[in-house]
Amino acid sequence: MKILEFARKEKMVTNNFPVVPYEVTDGFRGKPEYTYDLCIGCGSCVVACPSNALSLKKDEEKGVARWKVDYNRCIFCGRCDEVCPTRAISMSKEYVMCVLFDKEDLTVTGELKLKRCDTCDVYFTTERMSNYTYQKLVSAGWDIAGIDEKMKHLNTCPDCRQEKAVAVNVNQMKKRGV
């Protein structure tokens, strides 16, 4: 009965779990935490999520983009953390996820104000996304001169921008007589 001798060597190794929490190591991938103040609604996390736990939907009536995480679907892979440009979503050490009665308690939602296109008046991005782009451009050494004209370009939706570019090209070609 060598096995009993082996068993006797170590004292109790289990702990009183819900009372005494299990200590996880650094870098443990727990529940992804959402920080609303940092989120710009770019949608990178939604694209990266393998299990469709994240969603970003446009609500035209309210004029908001609704970002939502559904922890029922989350697989704790941490891809969202990896791709987020502003660290709005990051992995925590929390792993106990129990709710009583209502599965909706396992979701977190953030509403981000949408921005209209200057030309066609259609929602095309969030206000924060637009500001973020502006700040990034400034910090990258964007020339502030003629800012109004440039901001117009920034506040135009991709569709209108495309049309504008085509129109400009067509005009130039006409001038050259192509």
Binding site: M1, K2, I3, L4, E10, V24, F28, M91
Partner: protein, 582 residues
Amino acid sequence: MEKTIIKGKKFITALSNRFKVEVIRHQPEDQITILVDRNDLPEVVRTLYYDMGGWLSTMVANDEREMNGNYALYYVLSMEGGKMHEGDELPAEEKCWITVKALIPAHDPVYPSVTVKVPAAVWYEREARDMMGLVAEGLPDQRRLAVSDDFPEGLYPLRKDSIDYRERFAPYDLDKEPDYDFLFPEGEGTVDVPVGPVHITSDEPGQFRLFVDGETIIDADYKLFYVHRGVEKLAENRMDYDQMAFLAERICGICGFAHAVACIESSENVSAVEVPMRAQAIRTICLETERLHSHLLNIGLASEFTGNVTAFLQLFKIREHTMEMAQIITGGRKTYGMILTGGVRRDITDIERKEMHRIMNKVEADFKECLDGIIDSPNFIKRLTGVGVLNKKVARDFSPVGPNMRGSGFNRDTRYDHPFDWYKNVNFNVAVQPSGDVLSRVLVRAAEFHESISIIRQCLELMPSGPVMAKKAFVEPFSHGLGYVEAPRGEDMHWTMHGNAQKVHRWRVRASTYNNWPSLRFQFRGNSVADAPLIVGSIDPCYSCSERVTIVDVKKSKSKIIGMDDLKKYGISGKNSPLKNA
């Protein structure tokens, strides 16, 4: 340059003397695809299998109608030598994968069965019929395998045009549901013991029929695939390569990381991605960490089935430390989530490395002591010796993998035969035991446990510094390749054909246990009913919770339901047979 041996050339030359063979793909250098006529298929596969020392690793049915108007079959053979006796093995530089491809015209989806000549193909051909509607002429076993008994006729889920998700078929009424046609042995006095529908120590719910004469099992039949989840179709429809790794990791709860690696490497192998050395080493470390906890689980369960619950719990105590190791280096106790195309997502720091060494030293010493304690018990040895023997001849015919195979004296190990990742750079022995019974499988696992620890140590010490992620490369549309990994239970094979939007076109997953099931029937024969859970356990499918067993006496047409607890108790004590009053 002339000196370089072109891998597999020998086999192709020999084949072309007898058949019309065309090499259609040779990339990477150890994966060769040949195209043969569908009528030559059985003979070509047989020649490669028995005459040239091949083993059937997987078979893929593919819908290529949008490419060339045909269906296609790919029989993947691992060329490594017969290994039936000493010296019957190919030298390392000749080992390769040969994929035999045959086109099946869409208007006539029939091909001659390979199973008649190579029994290992039986499950694959049954599955090809269910999933693609390709009929193997002459296949001895024409029953369904993968789809349920009430699945509509003529609907083949993996065909590209098969299911419009808006039009689901109406299910059968419960009482009209057809039954699965089990193979009943002939003769008087046999008792049919159905075990299942959900349980007996398999990760998937499976229904087993044990046909017993008195206490002895004379034959067995089983129906599995109750939890076929359709991951292949899911990935084909909506996933890109980065997302597939996470889906692949969830194929198995125990050896998930092996699947993720196999899945990603099947796409890396055909594109120009060069995985950094450090990433390869980290993959290897994670794979071996997974093997540690999986083997501890299996040895623990072998002790539990023989009544040694103390040993089971002590092994689980050690297992907890291996889970901790995984947590330190990957951030997850079980699903590691480490891998993406091009490398791994996370580096191992120096602090983590030291911590790994500390835990490994403890785990190694503890395991040694604990195993000594287990082996010390004559009861344990007696229960395991001579039980569930996998005959060498049966093994050669059915291509089993993993410790199941190595316990029968074959040194088949993907890490050794087809070294992938960092395994080229580490030294390890292939653990082999000659006798083929449950005990030898346990001993193989115990020896592999120590090898794994040694591999992790070597990797941690020798791995080079550098980046852990390489840039992604373009995957050529409709190229295909293999990914292979030695999971704790044996070789995992993934075959992918790439689509034209940098997404997967067809993904074929072959988990290791898939190759071990067909030969299990022969392992059952001649053993006592009480040993059935032990034998199923020894091929190491994952274990699910207990279920009930129905006993049917054919002669008296009486049935009795006994709980799994009763059978387990009987398995432990060998007294008060629940069959007696049946």
